[in-house]
Subunit: 262 residues, 2 copies
DNA sequence: AATTAAATTTCGCCT
DNA sequence: AGGCGAAGTTTAATT
């Protein structure tokens, strides 16, 4: 039973053997690696052509396909996973791997005329992935410790829907003024300032109370501070990493409190 | 001379041999593939942790690093290529591959406790990559055949700088009214409408002539047509693929004319 | 070096 | 199923 092994390796196989190995790998929901000389054509949302050269083709268990050149973070051609239909067939001295999906309608065609390596693998992987210091972490940190924004700030709601979209955090300051907070996890450009301005306008149209707008980010682009000033908005420096640490500290403290109470 | 071969394959190597093969692969600017059980930690712009599991590690000739799980288009961890410093070392029964760069300061740490496969390859690849049906193609198509936008349209300039950014195409219609064109290669959302509105405002502030705004795209989002109507703007359906074909046709025609003249 | 906008963006969340 | 926004977005172009 060739398909039951967790790893198959073919070094410089002939076209026929490569065809079989790749087909079985895809059918068996394995991860398939192919190294060889190929031409690649894509037709779908756009259209592309890649002239012959040596690349690495990866087909994953969910049907996703990647063609990688020898440099670059991004694949030169690809197909995201999902409902992808594969067709693998030897044609004389070439091997064609075609990936096709319906929505959006697109096709990637990889044509090998030389194959150096075919590997198929069954990867056993249930390890959890955790990411810290996202924009959501910053939001949660402010909600848990509002003083991170400013002393006396009290959150009322978050992800509140207003005219064009959602306000990240919404609350009031120590003087009872409404505060609209826009959070960015990295240096904020003028688009962020404009976004906040639009939210502010929407909120001001609904209340007679004074409304402040605060852009929270680890930094600002060149003219952003001036743009904010012109629009009557404010800026508060806040580092996403520090927010993540704050969250950890709060969680730890909560745990300590819990243990103490027990 | 082990480093001079164009492909090395190690199946289930011990830690020491894997260390050597990976180090030499990186030093030799080869593409290195490693399949094995690993834990991955990232610290930099954010922070992440990936618990142990079987994955594929790819290190490319330019120093870029990818860690791929068995599913998904995107790598779970990565490092873009450039000035990346690598450290590969065996520690008892584990193998650590660390990638580090200065700007931005970040580190990816891949720790293997089991290695199924190590492959290093020298990929010979000079094949040209061509992409059609980009937004730029749409712009060029309109400039070459202005009737694609509307009968009688005459372009004056493109990528013209106005207040907040650049107008894609700028011209006048058969009645002498100014026309500002905003191009989107895919379904246009309300952001596109807003963008066009801002450009229109900027242009109107500079002239007494009537100014029309046309959003060009292969489709529109839900409320975009109504938003455009409210703002006094127009929509013109145009398919990026058709634009690309138009370009090809024009080029072919130009060539035919040239041959005829000769 | 900083900024801006596009991308076959992908991905997740929510209506 | 479509709309919306975030992403360790990356990448290329322009100042």
């Amino acid at each position: 039973m060739p398909g039951s092994k967790s790893m198959n390796v073919l070094v410089r196989p002939n076209i026929r053997d490569a065809e079989t190995a790749i087909s079985e790998g895809i059918l068996g929901k394995m991860v398939v690696l192919v190294a060889g000389r190929c031409r690649v054509q894509y037709v779908g949302r756009a259209k592309s052509n890649l002239e012959p050269g040596e690349r690495i083709l990866i087909i994953k268990a969910d049907g996703s396909l990647l063609v990688h050149r020898s440099v670059g973070y991004e694949p030169v051609n690809w197909m995201p996973g999902g409902d992808v239909f594969y067709n693998v067939q030897a044609k004389e001295q070439t091997l064609q791997v075609r990936a096709q999906r319906k929505k959006p309608a697109e096709t990637v065609n990889v044509m090998f005329d030389e194959i150096q390596l075919v590997v198929s693998l069954l990867l056993s992987d249930v390890g959890e992935f955790s990411l810290y210091a996202s924009e959501e972490d910053m939001q949660r940190a402010i909600l848990l410790k509002p003083d991170l924004l400013e002393e006396g700030f009290r959150p009322i709601s978050y992800e509140k829907k207003v005219a064009p979209g959602f306000v990240d955090v919404y609350g009031e300051d120590k003087d009872g003024k409404f505060v609209v907070v826009e959070i960015k996890r990295k240096t904020a450009g003028k688009e962020a300032a404009m976004q906040l301005a639009r939210y502010i306008e929407a909120v001001r149209g609904r209340t007679n109370r004074e409304v402040r707008g605060i852009l929270v980010a680890p930094g600002t682009g060149k003219d952003v501070l001036r743009t904010l000033a012109v629009l009557g908005l404010e800026y508060k420096h806040l580092d996403p990493r520090r927010c993540a640490e704050t969250l950890t500290r709060v969680r730890t403290k909560k745990l300590a409190d819990f243990l103490e109470e027990s």
